[in-house]
Symmetry: C2
Subunit: 188 residues, 2 copies
Amino acid sequence: MPAPLTEERDRLDRAALLDAAERLFYERGIQAVGMDEVRAASALSLKRIYRFFPGKEDLVVAMLRRRDQRWRDSLATFVERISDPRERVLAVFDWLAEWFAEPGFRGCAWINAHGELGSASAAVLAEVRSHKQAFHDQLAEWVRATGVAVVEPVFLLVEGAVVTAGISGDPSPARHARTAAAALLGTP
Amino acid sequence: MPAPLTEERDRLDRAALLDAAERLFYERGIQAVGMDEVRAASALSLKRIYRFFPGKEDLVVAMLRRRDQRWRDSLATFVERISDPRERVLAVFDWLAEWFAEPGFRGCAWINAHGELGSASAAVLAEVRSHKQAFHDQLAEWVRATGVAVVEPVFLLVEGAVVTAGISGDPSPARHARTAAAALLGTP
DNA sequence: ATCGATGGAGAACGCACGTTCTCAACACTT
DNA sequence: AAGTGTTGAGAACGTGCGTTCTCCATCGAT
């Protein structure tokens, strides 16, 4: 019964493939990275890659979906250690500050994918919208718990900070957005 | 002395070329549009196009630069009709609301270009940063005139609104950002 | 009217991409 | 141990890109 062995290998290869794709696509853009480069970075054969995903678009969507899980889990884990609702919302911006300062930070993978493929690939567009909606809803819960009706402004501050830090390469938008969010939430 | 005639024709052709490039690149993305399509839309010969710009990258940069002029002029003309400093800043968001509602609105051309070419083309990256800096400085003047130190938050609200409206296709971020900006500026 | 240069149209080129195919090596069955 | 199906590695294929080249029409000068 060797089936479990190949299943385990599939799992690992699939993860290696998505790791390689995510890193390359985020670093250099999706269209700028060829499937052959993904093959080299993942140490898989092209045939095996196309067995996992029938086309590049499917790989991109799967990569975005898995990144969405990781990204939102990481954020939630970080902010939900803080129990005070107001401080919890402000912690979102602390998490952003850490993210912006990471080497290789290049802005939001979904916004970048949207700029690149939003008009060419309906599947990618749907994935981008799905991520933004999911993040919005997650954030909305945290903001609503403060009792102050500022969900939309706080969301827009986050998006503005991510975009601005991504383009300028400067992490200070996280600080500015945090200060503004604190003002909108009012003095405690 | 026929020189003025060819100079005038150059001016017109160059404008037609940049018009066509701007429309196509904004609608469908830069990498998704080939030079042959730009040729067809501009009704120029490929040879003539390459006489104006030695490569596609130069055309993209020139297109972004001209769009920057038009975009910021349009915004400035709109908001500078309003003399009250506070209302002038809020008018920025009214201008955004009109822009977002335009048919074919697809977010910020510079953010999209950054997502597509920011890591591949230093010239495009520089042009994107230059535009964002220029807009930031323009906005900073208007905000400073209110006497309230909220330049950065207002800037981030604008960026967040543009990105969110571009992805979702919904113009309401302009309203939400306006409300938040009014709150940050304080009650008059 | 003829010559020569200029410029237009688009065919042609080289390259790189996404995808598919070939074929040899291997593992598992009888 | 021989056969058979499956897999891996990468060559091959078709397409479409950015760019250059070829040819021919046009037009001003002599």
